[in-house]
């Protein structure tokens, strides 16, 4: 039962959309025999016919071959159950127009049921991609050619190889050329031509492509020539060393990225709990609110997913911040001087917020899309690539951290909140407007939690349990780092992240988590006040 609110938001969003998005019209194709046959196969109820339709088109020299195949690949073709013809739909919604693929007939969708999407399966998708790759091999963009060679390397046969072989001499782009060379070398290794074998091994020894390594292994197992075997083995050792090095880098990156998630989740708490002393059990729910804000923003601007995240950051800050301020004004301000009781009240608040989200947005997870600029990888080589979304999260984490540091160190607020938390009465006697400071600080911590929610929405569930999943870890990080020290939070989060990732490959995820917890317990014995303890006479009693 999606709430009405969301639906309303969505309608508003649609209106905005119409203003932005250019209306695209589908071009119809002629009813020539080949295409009619293609259509007939696709509307058939026999699944194998789809594959045949693809083959049919692929084998033909039809000029619109690629256009049609991509329509199919992207799921833009629908079968009408009445007339068994194919249609292109702008939207699979009642009242929307449907254009016939062949000829120029169109109708309005009366019932969604009447139109069934024509779907391709994995094998067929591969089939289409291969066809497209073959064409792309002669594209004038090197990136496309590179992708094409990669696609072809998944599964090459004589035909594709000969295409690569033909294209190789003319290829100018070094990367594409290199990959082609690898492909050809792999092929060479499977032949029995001793002359070029050594060169092929040499080529492959420089490549980190898994297929290259596999080919070398196979070759090494199969060959009778001791010299070549030794060469292949040496190449393998070299490759494995490189792989090991890159795996190490990868682990480090994974650790930092897990660490930055922990830091983001904890950093708001480092303020509300660490600096203000409120044991804020609702912190997780403030993160959750940030994530839901992202969801709502995306609902409002479904055509601008890329932008939506950027809009969501300030929006989540404001929404969570306001909720935080409401919590502070409504409950917590009655509890200053009774820090333990904030635990009780905020625990209650967290239950209420969870249930509120369940009532408003349903208990189901909501889907938040990853904008295209955040998806994909920065590929350094075939064994080492960094995922862009995580990279952005790491960067974002540092940005948030330094922004907060600046606020706490460079503004009066930072000083005042520490004064208030150390001695409220005296701070007021010095003219500090403690109520405003509390409100602003709690709002700031909550707003930052909201921002963390935006980041988390990119990698995990956006659902009512989101907060629960992070609250324990957040407290762990803040305390491990040393309460009241936000540098501590940063270092603690990163340390725990990297430690987890270092242990995980050895022990598996479950034991890794247990070991990290045991590590925290033992570490605290050694440093009873965390990584960066508050020192001095006052902290001792």
């Amino acid at each position: 039962m999606k709430s009405r609110i969301v639906r309303k938001l969505r309608i508003m969003g649609l209106i905005t959309l119409l203003l932005f998005s250019a209306v695209q019209t589908a071009a119809a194709f002629d009813e020539e025999p080949l295409l009619l046959e293609f259509e007939a196969m696709l509307v058939s109820s026999d699944r194998n016919d789809t594959a045949r339709a693809i083959e049919l088109l692929a084998a033909s020299e039809h000029p619109e071959q690629l256009t049609l195949l991509s329509l199919l690949l992207e799921g833009n073709l629908y079968r009408n159950r009445d007339d068994d013809r194919l249609y292109q739909l702008k939207q699979h919604e009642e009242g929307q127009p449907a254009e016939r693929l062949l000829g120029d007939d169109s109708r309005i969708i009366e019932s969604r049921r009447d139109f069934r999407r024509v779907v391709v399966n994995n094998a067929q998708r591969s089939q289409i991609r291969q066809v497209m790759a073959l064409t792309a091999l002669s594209s004038d963009q090197s990136a496309k050619r590179l992708a094409a060679v990669k696609q072809l390397m998944r599964d090459f046969d004589e035909e594709t190889l000969s295409l690569v072989r033909d294209a190789y001499p003319d290829e100018t782009h070094p990367k594409v050329r290199e990959l082609m060379a690898v492909a050809l070398a792999i092929d060479t290794l499977s032949q029995d031509d001793a002359a070029s074998l050594s060169d092929a091994i040499d080529t492959l020894s420089r490549s980190l492509e898994p297929r290259a390594r596999n080919a070398l292994m196979q070759f090494s197992d199969a060959t009778d020539d001791d010299g070549l075997k030794a060469q292949a083995d040496a190449a393998l050792v070299k490759i494995d060393q490189k792989i090991k090095f890159y795996k190490g880098l990868e682990t480090l990156y994974f650790g930092l990225s897990l660490g930055s998630v922990l830091v983001l989740a904890a950093i708001g708490l480092a303020i509300t709990f660490g600096v203000m002393g409120v044991i804020n059990m609702a912190h997780g729910e403030l993160i959750m609110i940030g994530a839901y804000t992202t969801f709502v923003i995306q609902q409002l601007m479904p055509e601008h997913i890329g932008l939506s995240i950027l809009v969501a950051i300030p929006a989540a800050f404001v929404v969570s911040g306001l909720v935080g301020i409401a919590i502070e004004r409504g409950v917590i301000r009655f509890l200053y001087g009774r820090p333990l009781e904030t635990l009780l009240a905020t625990f209650g608040i967290s239950l209420v917020l969870q249930q509120a989200v369940r009532s408003i947005f349903s208990p189901l997870n909501r889907s938040v899309e990853t904008p295209s600029w955040m998806s994909g990888m920065l590929e350094f080589n075939p064994v080492f690539a960094i995922t862009l979304n995580r990279l952005y999260i790491i960067l974002f984490c540092f940005m948030v951290f330094f922004a907060l540091l600046l606020i706490l160190k460079r503004t009066a607020l930072g000083l005042q909140v520490r004064a208030v938390s150390q001695n409220r009465a005296m701070a007021r006697a010095m003219g500090v407007r403690s109520e405003r400071v509390d409100m602003m600080t709690f709002g700031l911590g909550s707003g930052v939690a909201g921002i963390a929610g935006v980041a988390l929405s990119q990698i995990t569930n956006v659902g009512p349990n989101l907060g629960q999943a992070y609250i324990i870890d957040s407290f762990m990080v803040v305390v491990f780092g040393g309460v009241g020290n936000i540098w501590g939070t940063l270092v603690a989060g990163m340390t725990l992240g990297v430690a987890t990732k270092l242990v995980e490959p050895v022990t598996g995820a479950v034991l890794a988590k247990i070991l990290v917890l045991v590590f925290i317990i033992l570490f605290i014995q050694k440093r009873p006040r965390g990584l960066f303890p508050q020192r001095g006479r006052a902290a001792e009693d």
């Binding site: 520490r418 007021r428 006697a429 010095m430 407007r433 902290a539």
Partner: protein, 233 residues
């Protein structure tokens, strides 16, 4: 400067201050005296707003405000500086930060710690970046006085400011209070147990006993009978 009328205060059930009427004339230094536990600190806390009063009024004069009805954080803005008993330093803030806390009450452009504070208490300059809580007791006391002066007060309230301070500095503090009082026209309300010091800096005295005001007058009027009656155990 301050005129207190019919002030009553309770800690829970226990009636601590009884119908206090008291005047603190502008430009003078009034010393509040009395045995331990008679309610001196409590009275100052009422003036500062740290304790709720049950009845009565506390008029702050040139600005004509009833302090009972104003919030605590207004007081420094109305020109009241406070040196509490037990120093109440912010232990984890540095000395500098302790002093900076009061700056925002000053008009923009004047938000700087005045140099004369470091002239008065050179030790604070030496310890600028040490945590307040790490200072020795006497250093903290000096910091507390310095901190109160930062807000540029018209009325300075001090609760046993010489407690734990080395003798030569006590003399200095006496001189300072007198100077602030006589030369800069600062009104001072001082709680002090030590008679010589009280006599030296005070213009007027006021004695509390078991929550009531029992005597008041010019410092010359503080004679042995009063002392025997109210200040001896």
């Amino acid at each position: 400067m301050i005129s207190i009328q019919g002030l009553n205060q309770f800690y829970g059930e226990s009636h601590t201050l009884w119908d206090i009427d008291m005047q603190i004339p502008e430009g003078q230094c009034t010393v509040l005296m009395g045995r331990n536990g008679v309610g001196k600190t409590t009275l100052l806390q009422c003036i500062m707003g740290h304790q709720k009063v049950a009845s009565g009024s506390i008029q702050l004069n040139p600005v004509n405000k009833d302090l009972v009805k104003t919030s605590v954080e207004q007081r420094p803005r109305l020109g009241v500086g406070y040196v509490p008993q037990g120093r109440q330093i912010f232990p984890l803030l540095t000395v500098e930060e302790n002093l900076q806390i009061g700056l925002p009450v000053l008009p923009r452009g004047q938000r700087k710690i005045p140099d004369y504070i470091f002239e008065l208490f050179p030790v604070l300059a030496d310890m600028m970046h040490r945590r307040g809580g790490d200072l020795s007791g006497g250093q903290q006391q000096q910091l507390a006085i310095g901190r109160a002066l930062v807000v540029d007060p018209k009325l300075l309230i001090l609760d046993e400011p010489t407690e734990g301070i080395q003798p030569n500095v006590v003399q200095e503090i006496g001189d300072i209070i007198r100077k602030l009082n006589r030369e800069m026209g600062l009104t001072v309300l001082l709680v002090e147990q030590k008679l010589p010091f009280a006599r030296k800096v005070g213009d007027r005295f006021c004695i509390l006993d078991r929550g009531r005001k029992v005597a008041e007058g010019a410092m010359d009027g503080l004679d042995d009978t009063l002392i025997k009656q109210y200040l001896t155990v």
